[in-house]
Amino acid sequence: MAFADDLLEQAQHLARREPKRPRQASLRRAISTAYYALFHLLTTSAAANWKQVGQRADLARAFEHSRMKDASRKIANRQFRRQAPAVVTRLIAVANTFIDLQQDRHAADYDSTRRWSRAEVLGQIHQAAIAFDDWKAIRKEQIAQDYLLSLLIKDRP
């Protein structure tokens, strides 16, 4: 997951780039980069399940942002039975963080009236970092693997 980790580190760097008066450009790029860090963490994890190594990059490009949001919302609102509560809590935290960062990324990239503060951006990046830790702790669990699949494939009618 080196690329995703590098993106998260870059987000932190951008958020602190100007010590006294942060530029909006740096803060916006920091938010957007934090989202893409989590996006790549999840899509790379999903693609890693594909046996043909040479096809994984193409598979990772098949993920759609809105589809991933829908899947994450379903996780955040689903009742899990017979699952370890600690695993469920971490998975829901990852899903919620994905939704939060995606919304922020949209505002950071497209809403020119929106102004960001450093504390706000660092708070969101901190949330992303926790999601990284949560994901790394649960990624081999069945419900985490089911989540990965749901990020890519639409529900059947």
């Binding site: 919620n96 503060s117 706000e120 708070g123």
Partner: protein
């Protein structure tokens, strides 16, 4: 809009929103005003706005102004995690009103400098 892909939970949520005339904003305001003191001394004030997210789903955007001490980098992570959890899991805006919560933070000195009305 509605299609066969919607889960039962989503269908029920939308039906509730329709029945209630989207949401009862007075009820929401009353609940938030009552809840905010529970967030503790780290919080200067909380503002909110009911709107939609980037794909048009109902949402509530919280703007939390923190004390400068709470927004110090060595405390910020813990403070925002705690407040985020409280607004999401104790206030339960999604379960009560069908509004997905988005929560943002700013320090008092940042807001004093930026002077944005929506955070005042």
């Amino acid at each position: 809009m509605p299609n066969a892909l919607w889960s039962k939970v989503e269908v029920i949520r939308v039906l509730l929103l329709v029945r209630n005339g989207f949401v009862n904003e007075q009820q929401v305001d009353k609940a938030i005003t009552k809840f905010v003191p529970q967030l503790g001394r780290d919080v200067v004030r909380v503002r909110y706005e009911i709107s939609t997210d980037w794909v048009g789903d109902p949402a509530i955007f919280f703007r939390v102004v923190l004390t400068d001490q709470a927004a110090r980098e060595d405390r910020l992570g813990k403070v925002t995690t705690r407040i985020r959890a409280a607004l999401r899991d104790k206030l339960k805006p999604f379960e009560r009103w069908g509004l997905y919560p988005f929560i943002h933070f700013r320090s008092k000195s940042e807001q004093d400098s930026m002077k944005e009305e929506s955070w005042s």
